[in-house]
């Protein structure tokens, strides 16, 4: 089986599970399908020899963020009766927002077709490995990297502040 075949199968599975996220009735099932989608995306990364990205995708998205999603959803009492009725205005605005996103996606896809159809092998197969990634992050992309770390620290400080303030109210 060629890599092309694998990538086509993986891609269709990814899209199928991503569709199931939207189509499944129960939010918990949606989250589980989303986790499966992340797995397929990780598999795609491995196919592109980007093992580090694949594993980090698994740890951060599937392992941490989705667990938090599931955590919150489990605490909510989600019944059919509890579901709020969506107004017509909300429906229309959601349609417009979703449609715009869809347009953006299509244009992005159009760009990729310029590089050739289907799976293309990487020019440098080692570019996804940790050493090269680290070298790039700390040389060429040092400034964006550091800026994103500042962003994270700001978010952390914000979270700590929020937690603290809540406590004072209780006291």
């Amino acid at each position: 089986m060629s890599l092309q075949m694998i990538s086509v199968i993986l891609g269709s599975l990814t899209i199928a599970s991503a569709l199931m996220v939207v189509l499944s009735k129960h939010p918990i099932r949606s989250v589980i399908y989303l986790v499966i989608t992340f797995f397929f995306i990780s598999a795609m990364y491995i196919l592109m020899n980007a093992q580090f990205l694949a594993i980090v995708n698994m740890i951060v998205y599937a392992g941490a963020i989705m667990v938090l999603f599931l955590f919150v959803l489990m605490l909510l009492n989600l019944n059919k009766e509890m579901e709020p009725e969506t107004s017509r205005l909300g429906l229309i605005s959601a349609l417009i927002a979703g449609g715009t996103l869809f347009l953006v996606m299509i244009t992005a896809l159009r760009d990729t077709f310029q590089y050739g159809k289907g799976y293309t092998a990487l020019k440098t197969p080692e570019s996804g490995l940790v050493e090269n990634l680290g070298n790039l992050l700390f040389s060429k992309y040092l400034v964006p990297f550091e800026i994103s770390s500042i962003l994270f620290i700001a978010a952390m400080v914000g979270a700590v502040l929020l937690a603290k303030r809540e406590k004072q109210v209780i006291d």
């Binding site: 580090f52 594993i55 980090v56 740890i59 599937a62 392992g63 941490a64 489990m74 940790v130």
Partner: protein
């Protein structure tokens, strides 16, 4: 990939699978014996000499029990839950180097199924998805106690994964590689990481206990508050898989701890041997280390009472993570100094 290599790897995978299951089964026996000894009892001694067939009796009992699915449960997720737990517990052993190369039939056989260059991250990835088995099973049971167990498991897992990762980073700094094989090789002989990173080991050990849901951190399944937690509604072999996966992951995480801090298969004076003798001795040394870790984990379980949930969170966020970060910073500075970057 040639056929011989394929056969070799599949044989190794099958062997590891069987060994993991066998070790997990006999861990239950050992745990019961140890609990009995600590409590001045004899423990299981009826099935076979010294009760050595007890795990087989237990397993048979598990299989023969009625397999019950609650009427209001989410049937598919209820079935998938224990499967995920078992799968994640077993798959970690793929990246563990079990010994030096073995020479069989004129071939140099590596005792590691997959030498990932990011092995340690693979372990963390698998550990972080391991909680899904508990969460999905606990939620699908449609029982408040199971749900509480699932919620506790997830919050505990997320809190302790951070400290675990940060303490493991120091090892990566020292050995300069994410591959478990390289980490083991860098600790040749008696040059074990525990002598350089006692604090990191301590944090890693505590967080491992928490990730394993072992006492004193077995809040997701505590009997006294949650009547079994996430596996309250489970019966028969589904319950068996949950219990089994706990013991399997105990085995594998003992192996990981031995690799990261106690030199894996390295043992003092290993240069005197070579070839297959060295391979067998290295496997024995590794097995001994794993056994000692399992012993200590069980010993702790039968000594220390369970934490309260707020104490658990306090320990995780306010003690372990700050200590781990400070430890990581100091290690980073020392490594940078040694490399001449400062």
């Amino acid at each position: 990939m040639d056929t011989a290599m394929l056969i070799e790897k599949s044989a190794l995978v099958l062997l590891l699978f069987l060994i993991s299951l066998g070790v997990a089964a006999y861990q239950t026996y050992f745990e019961r014996k140890l609990a009995a000894w600590i409590q001045d009892r004899v423990g299981p001694d009826r099935a076979g000499p010294f009760g050595i067939l007890q795990p087989i009796a237990d397993g048979t009992k598990m299989f023969l029990k009625e397999d019950f699915i609650p009427a209001k449960a989410d049937k598919w997720l209820f079935i998938i839950g224990p499967g995920i737990s078992m799968f994640t517990a077993l798959i970690t052993s793929a990246v563990v180097p079990w010994g030096t190369n073995l020479n069989l039939f004129g071939r140099d056989i590596s005792l590691q199924v997959a030498d990932f260059n990011i092995g340690i991250l693979f372990v963390f990835g698998v550990v972080s998805i391991g909680v899904y088995g508990i969460m999905i099973g606990g939620w699908a049971s449609n029982n408040k106690y199971s749900l509480y167990g699932a919620i506790r498991a997830s919050s505990q897992m997320i809190s302790y994964e951070l400290a675990m990762g940060i303490s493991a980073i120091t090892i990566v700094m020292l050995s300069g590689s994410l591959s478990l094989n390289d980490i083991v090789k860098s600790q040749h002989g008696m040059n074990w990481n525990i002598f350089y990173q006692p604090v990191a080991f301590f944090i890693f050990f505590i967080t491992s206990l928490a990730e394993l849901n072992r006492a004193p951190f077995d809040l997701p399944e505590c009997e006294s508050e949650l009547i079994g937690g996430y596996h309250t509604e489970y019966s028969s072999m589904k319950l068996g898989l949950y219990l089994f996966s706990e013991y399997t992951s105990m085995f594998v995480s003992s192996a990981i701890m031995a690799i990261l801090f106690f030199g894996g298969y390295n043992f003092p004076g290993m240069d005197a041997f070579s070839g297959n003798t060295l391979a067998i001795l290295s496997i024995a040394a590794f097995a001994l280390k794993i056994f000692l870790f399992i012993f200590v984990i069980m010993w702790i379980r039968w000594t220390i009472p369970r934490f309260r949930f707020d104490q658990l969170m306090h320990l995780g966020w306010k003690v372990l993570i700050p200590v781990a970060i400070v430890n990581m910073l100091i290690t980073g500075l020392v490594v940078a100094w040694n490399q001449g970057w400062m």
